[in-house]
């Protein structure tokens, strides 16, 4: 029972962060833009959803609104960067900081609870199921969203517009040579990315039927870890798309995080998140891989020498 509960939590959280990961994949991997506004747009999606829902809006409409709000916030980061020529990292930090107040103002306080409302993850159908089955059903519903986002993103990246978005991060000069303004593609990418992040934020709130202003802290670090793990996996499996890798990366990350939290306790959560990120970065840079390889070689040599002596 304990194992099943843990598994369902990993799936639920893993899938939610997979959507955040897909967003961050656009900025970090495609646009090569270190976007920190994510820490603010994740709760923004949550608060917009929560407030609209409590005001009587259906959950589907509230989720679309969350996406739009996130996209608008991403556009602000983009405008700060391309129009006011502010460094990309700083643009994100500015948006993130501003959103702390914006989110508080929208919520009218640090929390919004909506346990009575019917949502995608809490409705009559789910409450009729046994608890464990309901948990897995929730995970399945979130998975449907993940698949929808992933497929749409994959399709978009294969359109002419998507090609130029990819080229913008790859070689901005090429986009300029085609007579297009790279600024527009940066803003488009940032909007799309933060829209997805906010959408994930709305799902995160539905998971607990509550919006909490502290839910965004550390989102960037978690999402980047998911993206980096995902891209490393996708690199080694030829047929796997990067976006699929990101989804798997998110699940893997959450599995590791959950195990670490079980062993150390939830007080250590953010510390574990930070340490895990360092490990992921070291893996990505090949530092750990090389060390392991060297260690392995040395062992082999030792045993070979031992054989010679015998």
């Amino acid at each position: 029972m304990f194992f099943l509960n843990q598994t369902s939590t990993i799936l639920q959280m893993g899938f939610i962060y997979a959507i955040v990961g897909l967003g961050v994949y656009i900025t970090y991997k495609i646009l090569d833009f270190p976007d920190l506004s994510v820490d603010g747009t994740f709760p923004l999606g949550g608060v917009v959803f929560a407030v609209l829902l409590t005001a009587g809006c259906p959950w589907a409409v509230a989720m679309i609104a969350a996406f739009v709000a996130g996209a608008a916030a991403g556009l602000v980061t983009g405008l700060l960067h391309v129009k006011l020529k502010i460094n990309g990292l700083l643009s994100g930090i500015i948006t993130m900081t501003a959103l702390l107040s914006v989110n508080y103002l929208i919520a009218g306080g640090p929390m919004v609870s909506f346990s009575q409302e019917s949502t995608l993850l809490s409705n009559g159908f789910l409450s009729g199921l046994p608890r464990t089955a309901a948990n897995f059903m929730q995970a399945f519903f979130i998975l449907l969203f993940v698949i929808l986002c992933k497929v749409l993103l994959d399709l978009f990246l294969k359109t002419k517009c998507g090609f130029l978005l990819r080229a913008t991060g790859d070689n901005p000069q090429l986009v300029t040579q085609t007579g297009k303004n790279t600024d527009n593609y940066k803003m488009l990418g940032l909007s799309l990315a933060n829209g997805l992040v906010a959408l994930a934020g709305s799902l995160y709130c539905q998971y607990g039927s509550v919006y909490n202003s502290s839910m965004g802290t550390g989102t960037v670090v978690i999402a980047l870890a998911c993206v980096i793990i995902g891209c490393v996996i996708a690199k080694h499996i030829r047929i796997m798309a990067n976006t699929t890798g990101v989804v798997i990366g998110a699940l893997l990350y959450y599995a590791i995080l959950s195990i670490a939290m079980l062993l150390l306790g939830s007080d250590y959560t953010k510390l574990i998140v930070a340490v895990l990120f360092v490990i992921v970065l070291l893996f990505d840079s090949g530092l750990i891989g090389r060390k392991l390889k060297n260690l392995f070689r040395r062992e082999k040599r030792k045993s070979a020498e031992g054989d010679n002596h015998a």
Binding site: K160, Q177, N181
Partner: protein
């Protein structure tokens, strides 16, 4: 065709390091000309290309392309009529994208980049036909990321991509400088062929005096923002590499090298 009038360009303006490169600089290129530009470092060759492409703005003067004043046009707007190949092979294409994808982007230049499929399967055959005569075997590697190609292959691809749609002017910015001598030779020969076939007005900056002598219809030598040699047609045909080298040494000695 291309006209620069009274161009002024100052670097490090307002600092003790201020240096005036161009002051009242005039330069014009006629339709169909293939101009080779040589000169020492800091002579203003590359700055000229940057001014024409719009990546550097002049401090004074006007630039006209086919009679239209483009002085205040942004780089990406001018790029719709101007193709450019850089010295750095990584600037010619999106390196993480495949050859076919890069050619699809280039082919769509000047049109809208909307939500229709980026890569049209039927067009890939046409791309192959464009690449085949280049003799580099690129046509068999359509789905290979450009980053996996050699520098020479990338420069040839960059040249192909830059000239895929009709353009008024082609800028070649030392595009063979990063290549080994043999590849540079091949790339230059291909450049000449493409420019002749498509009859594109071309400005080529090069450090290779022999390329400048051998190719093109006009030859200019720059020194500290001035044109010290401008030979076209018969006059150019009579110039030998030795003559160029002698003049080149002369201006270099003036600089104190």
């Amino acid at each position: 065709m291309l006209e620069l009038k009274g161009i002024r360009k100052v670097f490090n303006k307002g600092t003790p390091d201020e240096s005036v490169l161009f002051d009242g600089f005039d330069f014009s290129v006629r339709e169909g000309e293939f101009v080779s530009i040589v000169g020492s470092n800091g002579s203003g060759k590359t700055t000229l290309l940057n001014l024409v492409s719009g990546s550097v703005l002049p401090d004074g003067g006007k630039i006209f392309l086919k009679g239209e004043d483009i002085t205040d046009q942004k780089e990406f707007v001018r790029a719709r009529r101007i193709g450019r190949v850089f010295q750095d092979p990584s600037l010619g294409a999106a390196n993480g994208m495949t050859i076919a994808e890069n050619m699809a982007i280039a082919e769509n230049k000047g049109r809208a980049y909307g939500l229709s499929a980026g890569l049209n399967k039927k067009r890939v055959a046409a791309y192959r036909d464009i690449l085949h005569p280049l003799g580099l075997g690129l046509e068999d590697r359509m789905n290979v990321p450009v980053g996996a190609l050699s520098g020479g292959q990338r420069q040839v691809l960059a040249l192909t991509v830059a000239t895929m749609t009709p353009i008024d002017l082609l800028l070649l910015d030392e595009h063979t400088a990063a290549l080994d001598p043999k590849t540079a030779e091949q790339t230059m020969a291909l450049t000449d062929r493409i420019v002749r076939e498509k009859k594109i007005t071309t400005l080529m900056v090069t450090h290779n005096l022999r390329f400048a002598e051998q190719y093109g219809t006009r030859l200019c030598m720059f020194d500290k923002g001035h044109i010290v040699l401008d030979a076209a047609g018969e006059e150019k045909a009579q110039k030998k590499v030795e003559d160029l080298l002698a003049l080149f040494n002369e201006i270099s000695i003036e600089c104190g090298n």
